[in-house]
Amino acid sequence: MSYFQRIKSFVRGFFTLLLALVLFIFPEKGIYIVAAILTLMLFVYGFRQMVFYFSMARHMVGGKSTLYRGIIALDIALFLSSSVAFSDYIVMFYLIFFYGFSGFIDVLRAFEAKNNGASLLSSKLITGVLSVLFAIALFVTGIIIGDKEVVVFGYCLMLVYSAVVRIVTTFRKTAIVYIQ
């Protein structure tokens, strides 16, 4: 990574941590902040898809689909930004899907490693099972009981994880030595 990329990674990690802290302190307003962030992310995604089309995908056979995807994403982001009533449910389903899917992949990874001779009881299995359990807990508390604060805490955890990974990445050694 270049110095600029390292600085960018650290700054993004730092602000993500800060955001998690704010949400943790003010969970009652958190669901709307989270919804706003996700809508903003969709805007950014749509915009990036369009940039991607003009810088790369226009050279690709069938690349126009990227342009359409960008336009549709921007359209959905506009719709979401004007319909706050649905936003908490969208956030909840997003989080449940995120934790459930990543947990499922971790469990599969643990079994794949076992098939290749490693022990089944690994950090992957533990994080996988915990993530799946957390997704179930979010579903019960968020969707069935209707407690939105738990969802905010769930989102905080995701932010903290992402921030820590970014900060750790900043300090990772990535260069490879070459001997002529």
Partner: protein, 382 residues
């Protein structure tokens, strides 16, 4: 290419190049082992994770696609399975630097990196020879795909036609069920799922074209993502025969005292007496040609070829003392793997492309970066 070619065909080529039975077994084992040396395996034996030469499907699913993650994936796949043909290649149209960098990693035959790969193995271990043969033969199979995740390079248009031996064409259908074997009778093949994300691991290498590039018998035509709507024909029987004869030439070069490895040279003379047999094996419609290549290998050497066993050298490495690990079979493989990665990363980096990461010239700047590569310094001092 599949295990049949990387193990048994490489054994045959090594025998024809003049190696003994046991040397040929070591070379073919190392060639085949490139497809098995994952981080999971290296974790089990306590080896250097940086020496991984491939990734399991779920390792890939789990891999981060941030900058260091993508560089790590590219180092593995571009170094061992998709050697770029031309690091200065120019796409036809005006395009961004980002697109150009991906385009320049497209794998192809007889590139300068192939020459560097074979030359790197000269005077080194048999494991290094095996790794070089893996990279060489894969340049023939994996032509037109890049060893980095890329939608715009590796996602061909979804219209493939198989060209049958009688010249007729048959539409190829792709499905995404990894548990089901490819159906050769109906031309139904498994491929990775579509993902619209440029850096998704679904768009790594030839995943979107399934195992088509790995079957020696198949001829097919399609529109590569980068091909500007021009139809491309891939003739695997011809390519696999060239790969086999180039391996013989390369291994003869590696065994010799002097000379220079020349691109576009194939030792067709060496197979003159068995050409019909090789043609038959290569063109037979089957998922696995191991049995046929094995029989040919045993006929050539007069020796029994044991099947590939991933655990064969595991205990030797695990039980060796710390000082002796580098002298074991797997220890030598790990050193050869690190050297290949280091060389390919350097060539890509010095071409102005950072997709495989940063390379530090030891002679100019001393040791920097990932610690595992200290082994190369130690090796150099020897």
């Amino acid at each position: 290419m599949n295990a049949d070619f990387h193990y048994y065909a490489t054994y045959c080529a090594a025998i024809l190049a003049g190696y003994s039975h046991s040397e040929s077994l070591d070379i073919s084992y190392s060639d085949r082992f490139v497809d098995s040396c994952t981080r999971t395996f290296l974790d089990i034996i306590g080896g250097e994770p940086a020496a991984a030469t491939t990734q399991l499907n779920l390792e890939l699913m789990d891999a981060r696609t941030d900058i260091p993650g993508l560089q790590d994936i590219t180092r593995i796949w571009a170094s061992f399975h998709f050697l770029p043909k031309d690091l200065q290649a120019e796409p036809g149209n005006r395009c961004s630097k980002r697109y150009k960098n991906k385009f320049r990693l497209i794998c192809g035959t007889n590139g300068e990196l192939l020459k560097s790969t074979v030359t790197l193995a000269k005077g080194k271990s048999l494991q290094a020879v095996g790794i070089a043969m893996h990279a060489l033969s894969d340049t023939w199979a994996h032509t037109y795909f890049a060893g980095t995740p890329s939608l715009v390079i590796n996602n061909p248009y979804n219209r493939f036609f198989e060209i049958m031996p009688d010249g007729s064409e048959r539409k190829i259908t792709f499905r995404h069920s990894a548990s089901q074997p490819d159906d050769l009778e109906k031309s139904i093949y498994t491929s990775s799922l579509y993902s619209g994300s440029e850096n998704s691991i679904m768009n790594l290498g030839h995943g979107r074209a399934g195992h088509l590039p790995d079957y020696s018998f198949i001829r097919y035509k399609y529109l590569p993502a980068w091909g500007n709507y021009e139809e491309t024909v891939k003739d695997n029987p011809s390519d696999y025969k060239h790969a086999f004869c180039q391996m013989i030439y390369a291994m003869k070069y590696l065994r010799s005292e002097q000379g220079e490895f020349e691109l576009k040279r194939y030792d067709f003379d060496a197979i003159a007496e068995i050409e019909d047999e090789i043609d038959r094996i290569i063109t037979t419609r089957q998922l696995d040609s191991s049995g046929d290549w094995k029989a040919l290998g045993e006929k050539l050497s007069g020796q029994k070829i044991e099947p590939f066993d991933i655990e064969k050298y595991q205990a030797e490495y695990i039980n060796a003392s710390k000082e002796n690990k580098d002298n074991t079979f797997l220890g030598r493989f790990i050193i050869a793997s690190l050297a290949q990665k280091s060389m390919v990363t350097n060539k890509i980096y010095t071409s102005g492309n950072k997709l495989a990461g940063y390379s530090v010239d030891y002679k100019k700047r001393g040791f920097r970066g990932i610690k595992a590569y200290r082994k190369l310094v130690k090796e150099d001092k020897k």
